[in-house]
């Protein structure tokens, strides 16, 4: 039983929302924990009914689950159950902060899908935005419990474009070698989070300034990116299901002006997908915009895609 505070006693998260949204989050969500490896993983649930369609999602590597309720609520309002989990080492989950490698994310995807399958009887769907999106494909393609995926970022680990913001391919490869060596000596080596990732690419809307400042003051925000994580993002790792062989329906919603992951990269991988697929282009948009309108617009694309693949909600 939650303590009537959305599972986080610290009040700062409320600064991201209007009072009405705060009330809705507290009323609509419950929280629990699952275990992936030896990490306690924080899970937020929006429950409609056991038989309702369920969307499983994590979060990108800046805002964690409780700061992305505007992306979760539209699904709940549309009749979905929502199972949202925080990446290991992020937000409200356990594990070394910003220091769990990509295989840990993939393992947690599997744990989250298994938890959801055990709890809900309706069709399951998975969606992702950033690293949670790439790992969503790695874990979700051909997963027998998933009906369809919706992704914002798609690439194969080892492609220099997967960390495009780190510089040209030769520099990325040089950094990968350096980070790999550094990790062996000191797994806790890290750089300041603001230097690792352009935060403005996530908070890119003209009205996102106050929300970015709120994020900078968040007590659970990422502070440093560790080499072990960075190295795993740069390392080579093939997806278990090659893109050409994927038969799970995949929607890719690509931001045309993303300064993190190039639009051309996402389209290139989209074109390789062998199964049912859909490409949605967010024109003139950097990676993400933090307004309510953007989240609702984004969620509508996903809801439409999932509905086209069997997600029948009571409202439809």
């Amino acid at each position: 039983m939650a303590f009537g505070d959305a599972g986080l006693a610290h009040q700062h998260w409320k600064t991201f929302y209007t009072p009405e949204e705060v009330a809705e989050i507290i009323a609509a969500t419950s929280s629990t924990m699952i275990v992936a490896g030896t990490y306690p993983i924080h899970v937020r649930l929006y429950v409609r009914s056991p038989a309702a369609p369920t969307v499983i999602m994590s979060h990108p590597m800046l805002p964690y689950g409780l700061l992305l309720a505007r992306l979760q609520l539209p699904f709940y309002r549309a009749g979905f159950n929502v199972v949202q989990w925080d990446l290991p080492g992020w937000g409200q989950s356990g594990g070394p902060r910003a220091n769990c490698p990509i295989p840990d994310f993939i393992r947690t995807w599997h744990a989250a899908i298994a938890f959801t399958r055990a709890r809900f009887t309706g069709p399951l769907y998975a969606m992702g935005l950033a690293e949670d999106s790439v790992t969503c494909y790695y874990a979700g393609a051909h997963h027998p419990d998933l009906q369809a995926l919706s992704l914002h970022t798609l690439h194969e680990y080892g492609d220099p474009d997967g960390v495009h913001w780190q510089g040209p391919p030769w520099l990325v490869r040089a950094k990968a070698i350096g980070v790999g060596l550094g990790t062996r000596v000191r797994p806790d080596l890290a750089i300041q989070a603001e230097e690792a990732l352009p935060w403005r690419a996530i908070f890119s809307g003209p009205d996102d300034g106050p929300l970015l400042r709120a994020f900078e003051g968040d007590p659970l925000r990422v502070r440093r990116f560790h080499f072990r994580l960075a190295g795993s993002m740069m390392g080579k790792m093939k997806p278990p299901v090659p893109f050409e062989q994927c038969r799970t329906p995949v929607q890719v919603i690509a931001s045309e002006r993303s300064s993190l992951w190039p639009y051309a990269m996402n389209v290139r991988y989209f074109n390789r997908l062998g199964g049912p697929k859909e490409l949605v282009t967010l024109e003139n948009t950097d990676q993400w915009v933090y307004t309510r309108e953007f989240h609702e617009m984004y969620a509508q694309h996903v809801i439409r895609w999932f509905a086209a693949h069997g997600a029948a909600t009571e409202g439809q």
């Binding site: 006693a9 699952i34 989950s93």
Partner: protein
């Protein structure tokens, strides 16, 4: 919205308890998180329906709150609110697994006490068994809102015998120096949690072998420990309130067959306490036992002590 699964790491924890205990946890506890040093800290709450005294507990290093329900429930039954938090890096809390330090634990105690006071006000009580007891004393002694403290182990970090089993004092200091150096070079080096201390030294009651086996298999128990945590436990760190200057009432419940924290060490520090105090000797008992009777016996001593210092549940 309520959810009986809240806060439970799937179902493994239920192996530790009888069905009536599980039902009591699911019907009587709530969970939330506080933030300490940028880490999410898991908090379990047992909340009375009316104004009540509050006892604040941490967790042990080997296990975590959901493994320690039997040391929480008796207080709730006796009319207390209970605020139990898992130390950072342990149990259901965030942070590197087995990789946080004594200073992290101290900060977490301060944050948990602040949270408990904000939620429930006075009177407030602190209790602890292992590291949680020692760090509870470090933070709670002479704090105006803390009416009384109950601990099982009492020592100063770095004093002789405080890490019994690691050899004579000169060897402990040599190990401490070596670990400090190693922690500077590669603080995240890990070793199996079972190597830090023999678990059978901690849980020495009849039938505890099975309990130890279960705890070994629990993914949220101390599977690994990093040398920075071990180093911080061996490091010298005097309490902010020397025992002689403590005015907060302190109860010490000492087991005289304790292999981890020797009875002579605990009673020596008990003698140093300058304020109201009480020593209970658990005759023929090890550091801890996992059976229900031991917990209820132990908690009855603590409840009596807290009630003698203003707690009316």
């Amino acid at each position: 919205m309520t959810d009986t699964l809240d806060g439970t790491p799937q179902d493994y924890w239920k192996r530790y308890y009888a069905p009536d205990e599980i039902a009591e946890v699911e019907s009587s506890t709530q969970t939330t998180m506080i933030v300490s040093g940028g880490l999410p800290i898991h908090v379990r709450l047992w909340v009375q329906s009316k104004s009540a005294p509050t006892v604040v507990l941490g967790s042990s290093i080997l296990s975590y709150g959901l493994h320690l329900i039997r040391v929480q429930a008796p207080f709730y039954r006796a009319g207390f609110n209970v605020v139990q938090f898992d130390f950072p890096g342990l149990g259901q809390s965030g942070g590197p697994r087995g990789g946080c330090t004594v200073r992290d634990f101290l900060r977490c105690w301060r944050d948990a006490l602040a949270f408990a006071h904000l939620q429930f006000g006075d009177p407030m009580y602190v209790m602890g068994v292992g590291e949680d007891g020692v760090t509870g004393y470090y933070v709670g002694a002479n704090k105006p809102h803390v009416r009384a403290i109950s601990v099982h182990n009492l020592f100063e970090y770095g004093e002789p015998d405080a890490v019994q089993g690691q050899g004579p004092y000169w060897m402990v200091r040599a190990k401490a120096a070596a670990l400090r150096l190693a922690a500077l070079v590669r603080p995240t080096t890990e070793m199996p949690g079972s190597q830090a201390v023999p678990w059978e030294w901690i849980f020495g009651g009849p039938g505890d072998d099975e309990g130890i086996r279960l705890l070994h298999g629990d993914p949220l128990s101390l599977q690994t420990i990093q040398i920075r945590m071990v180093s911080s436990i061996l490091e010298k760190l005097a309490p902010p309130t020397p025992f002689e200057q403590c005015r907060t009432p302190v109860q010490v419940i000492a087991s005289n067959r304790n292999q981890v924290c020797p009875y002579t060490l605990v009673t020596r520090n008990y003698q140093r306490l300058g304020g109201p105090k009480e020593l209970i000797t658990l005759d023929g008992r090890p550091q801890w036992e996992l059976n229900r009777e031991f917990h209820e016996l132990y908690c009855a001593h603590v409840i009596r002590w807290f009630e003698a210092h203003g707690a009316r549940g």
